[in-house]
Point group: C2
Chain length 321, copies 2
């Protein structure tokens, strides 16, 4: 308790609006009210979290059923197909050898903003991605996304977990990733490059050239997200790596996974909406209409500056395109 007080005491503030000791007393009275408000807010957030946990349990059997259909473990009955708005596709042929829904999760990811980091080299490996599960970890708010892969030519893992560890106040603490066990010569996230180094001529020695082989990272989905550099050279790089991952994880968890079928069908969007700049508005008064520019969706992923708050979002309905 007293420790907590000390931290709050240290917060710098601007006292310029406090014009007298009388005003100071009143501001401290407002801070007392704020303490009460903060306690109530904390209680409210706990109650909301309980509700979210309750529903997460109800969502899980649905996710399991989806996995069984996607992977071909279970064949849905006619009854299972009685959705409110069935889709129809003309001129389709029967292909009895089709198992489940081929490349389901690859198509899902390719219809999200994550597609921006999916490269040619990722695609074959992602064809073996058969499920992404949201799993609660421990009693707190920690969770992991488990990427399930069927047997494939690239690595021996069947599950690659990305576990998000939050601090008590919801601050993002750490993201732990399962290391990938690459099969021999199959790690497409690095490539060997020959580097020629020319030594300077020194007294009595002519210049010599030596060539060494260096491993270079290939920027792609697996190197950026699934298995990023575990050995960053600076705190800034570590933070950067963590936040890129967190943004993707949060998007997948809150927006994409709960509605994967609509992403598969390309009719849901995870795009951030536009920033609106106040200053711009004033300039517009005499300028040209730039509505069209405003409507362009930016291909960006939000990155908190510094140690951002990792507020767990409730699953939300996606905008239909």
């Amino acid at each position: 308790m007293s420790e907590n007080n000390e931290i709050e005491m240290e917060l710098p503030f601007d006292s310029s609006a406090i014009t007298s000791t009388e005003v100071l007393d009143r501001v401290n009275a407002l801070l007392t009210l704020q303490d009460t408000q903060n306690e109530l807010t904390e209680q409210m957030e706990k109650e909301i979290l309980e509700i979210e946990k309750k529903y997460l349990k109800k969502f899980q059997p649905l996710a399991e059923k989806r996995f069984e259909i996607v992977s071909g473990k279970v064949e849905p009955t006619k009854e299972d197909q009685q959705c409110k708005a069935p889709i129809q596709v003309e001129n389709l042929k029967s292909v009895p050898t089709d198992k489940g829904i081929p490349k389901f999760w690859l198509h899902v990811l390719q219809n999200t903003e994550v597609k921006d980091i999916i490269e040619e080299c990722d695609i074959e490996a992602l064809e073996y991605l058969v499920d992404i599960k949201i799993v609660q970890v421990g009693d707190a708010q920690d969770y992991s996304l488990d990427f399930h892969f069927s047997e494939n030519p690239f690595f021996t893992n069947t599950v690659i977990s990305k576990t998000v560890k939050l601090e008590e106040d919801n601050e993002l603490n750490e993201i732990v990733s399962t290391p990938i066990n690459w099969k021999d010569g199959k790690n497409f996230t690095v490539q060997s490059k020959k580097k020629t180094v020319k030594s300077k001529p020194t007294k009595g020695k002519a210049a010599t050239t030596t060539s060494t082989t260096v491993q270079e990272v290939v920027p792609c989905f697996f190197s950026t997200f699934v298995s990023p550099n575990q050995d960053p050279t600076s705190d800034e790089e570590a933070d950067e790596i963590m936040y890129i991952q967190y943004q993707i994880i949060a998007k997948l968890k809150d927006i994409v996974i709960p509605e994967a079928v609509n992403f598969f069908l390309g009719r849901a969007s995870d795009a951030e909406e536009n920033d609106y700049d106040f200053g711009e508005d004033f300039e517009d008064e005499e300028g040209e209409d730039d509505d069209e520019e405003d409507d362009e969706e930016e291909q960006t992923i939000k990155k908190p500056s510094g140690k951002g708050k990792a507020q767990p979002q409730q699953p939300q309905d996606c905008k239909q395109q």
Copy 2:
């Protein structure tokens, strides 16, 4: 129900990943699961809304007490000032004539992003702003922000309400503002300008110049937000006006009003966090470190493109600077 189905039927989708009638059947089975998931999500959101309403009732007496202290109606006791982390200011004098906390809400607003649209002409009027109340309207999710003003030289209103009306699915429908009853010659949001019009010389007539007086809008907080143009010339302009207002209202309601004292003290922030661009990351590999640029907070207000979803946010703790 059937009407709803028709709407869902119309959603365009990309069928390229559906390779056979077997796959189509399985996709329709996933859509059945999605229907169930959507119903559960709707139930969950209702339960969360109930909790938020319950706490809103608990927050209201605190807001009322704050108003009484800020306006000087009530003098807090020593007991009232026993907050967890009282602030101290050195070298303050006693000014027994100080009433309440002078210019409290002006200082609050000036420490938010809204400051970008507060101009010189707004400031004197905002000194009379004595409270901003969040009021639930009707049984649905509609609400209004009520701006309370003490007697002032500019207008006769004591309350200017901005009411947000949502549709059943949470889409923003309309924002209704109380018209301002300006006192004679005190409307600082418009200025008269003489405009000289030169007519072209025509047959037998020399060019003549006539001057007319036109009313021009002065861009400021009152003209942009409090009492915007009620007579937009196009749907796009109407949408634009609505969304600028909505962004400010949402910020005030969810972030600023619940923690006004910390904004007054300049130690809370309502700044949007940074966008992180994936593409940029790849370029960085060989580029310079641009961490510092990334950390700059952008002074922007988010504007949904088209008819955006107005998801009510739960009150959130503000980042302490």
